[in-house]
């Protein structure tokens, strides 16, 4: 009955697009700004909202919480139905898909009327908003991935600090394995959405899946070397296909030497396994040609069909101000995107966060093109095949090239 489901889905879209919701009567005479935010952020945003309304009493901000796993369908239904909010929080990796449908307002011109200055943002947070050199979103908060490792386990095999090169990293995982550590490191076999860890290794070798002109690069030596590096951890049994327990639990028990994670992992570890904190070390990515990592986070966008673009812009401007970025960090621990906000005492005094700050200087996001999700799926499938030994790197990449050709051509 799935076909029915699909059909009903599309029908409901049609029906929805037919009935444009009527502008609600505004009794208080205030201008309404509707905002969509995700999960936990939506709850915390209410605090920022009150502050905004104090400064701008003529506006009435209405925040709607969308669960993270519903984002895709919810936003898409809204876009196709023309029933979008004024402002929405969009994850960096989803930007391309919606932008390609033409749902976001071009903000390049609008910015001139505000005091949002793109130069104030950390450079790596901007590309996911840029399409053909124009800005379609404003970074809100950011995150990047770094290594989380157990200092005591590294000491045990003679490492005082975390490896800074690929060679050292491989040496370290091999030594941990010999020392009887069950899982020297863990990386995903396949991440159905964004293979952040895999991309990091690819970028570190100075290459990418495709270049600026959409030429496919997967068969060149550097790319193959990166794939061999990634899959090698599995073939040498240094990375597990499946871990026994939860990541935090294995990490705390000393079964897991290291993993790659984002800033949220600090709080998770603090809350679930506080004992591990004294042995926790954070380090930026090891270097091959670069030490690039993946940059994620969320942007704020204004929809083309927004009813109150002016108010929406005001709200975004408010959220990207330095003091509000700092306050947002204090509320949620989400990393600020404004460079100057990082000088604040609360952030500057946190040693662990400095690693993220450093890594943000070497952070990238996958190319902003509409085929990204299909490319990621094809890449993930091939890497999985290599990990399970169904094909080797050279042959696998040749097959991947063919697949990508048919994806990108269309």
């Amino acid at each position: 009955m799935k076909k029915l489901f699909i059909a009903i889905f599309s029908l409901s879209i049609l029906v929805l697009s037919g009935c444009n919701s009527k502008e609600e009567e505004n009794t208080s005479g205030k201008e309404k700004i509707t905002v969509w935010a995700m999960g936990e952020e939506a709850i915390k945003l209410n605090i920022m909202e009150k502050k905004f309304e104090e400064i701008n009493p003529t506006y009435d901000v209405e925040i709607q919480a969308i669960p993270w796993d519903m984002v895709h369908t919810k936003v898409l239904t809204a876009i196709t139905g023309g029933d979008t909010p004024d402002v929405a929080q969009i994850g960096t990796s989803l930007m391309a898909e919606y932008q390609w449908i033409g749902s976001f307002e071009n903000l390049t011109q609008h910015l001139k009327t505000t005091n949002i200055n793109p130069e104030k943002f950390i450079e790596s947070t901007l590309p996911s908003n840029e399409f053909n050199g124009e800005l379609f979103g404003i970074p809100w908060y950011t995150e990047t991935r770094v290594f989380f490792y157990r200092k005591d386990l590294l000491n045990k095999v003679g490492y005082d600090s975390f490896p800074t090169t690929w060679e050292e990293l491989m040496d370290l995982t091999a030594k941990l394995k010999v020392a009887g550590i069950r899982y020297p490191l863990t990386i995903p076999i396949k991440d159905p959405n964004t293979p952040a860890e895999l991309y990091s290794f690819i970028w570190q070798n100075g290459t990418d899946v495709i270049d600026e002109n959409k030429n496919i690069l997967v068969t060149n030596d550097k790319f193959q070397e990166a794939i061999s590096m990634y899959t090698g951890f599995f073939s040498r049994k240094e990375a597990p296909l499946e871990m026994g327990g939860e990541l935090t639990q294995e990490f705390q028990q000393g079964n897991l030497g290291m993993f790659i994670g984002g800033p949220w992992m600090i709080n998770i570890l603090k809350n679930t396994t506080p004992e591990v904190m004294k042995n926790l070390g954070l380090a930026t990515m090891p270097k091959k040609e670069t030490k690039d990592s993946f940059v994620g986070g969320s942007n704020l966008v204004i929809f083309k069909d927004a009813k109150n673009k002016e108010g929406a812009l005001k709200f975004i401007e408010f959220l990207s101000q330095e003091e509000n970025q700092i306050e947002w960090f204090k509320l949620t621990n989400n990393l600020p995107v404004i460079k100057s906000a990082w000088k604040d005492e609360a952030i500057n005094s946190d040693e662990l966060l400095q690693v993220f700050k450093e890594q943000l200087n070497y952070a990238k996001s996958p190319k902003n093109i509409k085929e990204t999700s299909k490319i990621n799926a094809a890449l993930g499938n091939k890497v999985e095949e290599i990990i399970f030994g169904k094909t080797d790197v050279e042959k696998g990449m040749k097959e991947l090239e063919k697949e990508l050709e048919s994806i990108i051509k269309k």
């Binding site: 799935k2 059909a7 898409l76 327990g245 399970f388």
Partner: protein, 291 residues
């Protein structure tokens, strides 16, 4: 009393309207979509849909290796899980229905519980049970001196794990239906056979089975339709992996439709699945009638 056409219309209208809105129109739209390149852009404005004739179908049948894998997996699950489910649930039904069995309702409830539990919650528990390193299943296998595989991660075993779960979940309702079928067999027929000197096995094959054949037909049809639409178990437990070894046709449709938003292609896949189920069901009904 004569029924006027007008009155008939008034009473039928609500039902017909519902069927048309939620069944006939969507199916027709989906059929239309299956001949088009129908993406998100086309949903916004139908003029963006490009007519491509049978290209979607051709691509599915001749080029789509994921579909071939999904078809293979689904048929494999069907081929193993269907006879096992029918055989096992009939066996259990006979046992529960036997006069010697005590605590009948306890067993009936016990076997039915998997069917009413939430797949999402149950999948989580099974994930723990089947975990390669810490799972309780491998822990018990260790006692027997068997080193259990990584049930959900090993491409050679994952499909059998899925089959096991599918059968486990389908057992309950089928046992109940079989019990109902068994209870509808009149006692007198059995008694007559006993007087004629038939033993238990003869009674089962010459009285129970023939009188149960409508129930068996019903159950096998329901299972056929249900298993060909396999989705929940692989979606919750393996996401179709490892190496697509547990991807099912409906999962493939889901991926194409809701991950990549190729609504046209997904519609074409749905119609292929529809005709597959249709043909299989016809064959099943035919074989029963002739057999």
């Amino acid at each position: 009393m004569k029924t006027s056409l007008k009155n008939l219309g008034i009473f039928l209208f609500p039902a017909l309207a519902l069927i048309f809105t939620f069944l006939v129109i969507p199916i027709l739209v989906s059929f239309y979509m299956s001949f088009h390149e129908f993406g998100v852009m086309s949903v916004i404005d139908w003029r963006n849909a490009r007519f491509i004739g049978l290209d979607n179908y051709k691509r599915i049948i001749f080029m789509d290796s994921d579909f071939h894998q999904a078809l293979k997996n689904t048929l494999f699950v069907l081929a193993i899980a269907m006879p096992v489910t029918i055989g096992l649930s009939l066996f259990l039904a006979v046992l529960i229905n036997s006069k010697m069995t005590k605590f009948k309702s306890f067993f009936r409830v016990g076997f039915y519980i998997p069917a009413i539990t939430n797949t999402v919650a149950v999948a989580l528990v099974w994930k723990w049970i089947l975990n390669g390193d810490y799972g309780i299943l491998n822990y018990f296998l260790n006692f027997l001196g068997i080193e259990g595989p990584q049930w959900l991660i090993d491409p050679d075993y994952a499909i059998y794990t899925i089959i096991f779960l599918v059968v486990w979940k389908a057992l309950g309702p089928n046992v109940i239906i079989f019990i109902a079928g068994l209870q509808s067999i009149p006692e007198t027929v059995n008694e007559a056979a006993e007087i004629d000197g038939a033993n238990r096995i003869q009674k089962f094959f010459h009285i129970t089975m023939p009188l149960l054949s409508p129930t068996i037909l019903y159950i096998s049809l329901m299972i056929l339709i249900g298993y060909l639409q396999l989705f929940d178990e692989p979606f919750m437990l393996t996401k179709g992996g490892p190496l697509n070894s547990t991807i099912s046709i409906v999962m493939h449709i889901y991926n194409e439709g809701f991950r990549f938003f190729n609504f046209g292609y997904a519609s074409a896949l749905s119609f292929i699945l529809f005709f597959g189920i249709f043909t299989f069901s016809l064959i099943r009904i035919k074989t029963i009638k002739e057999g």
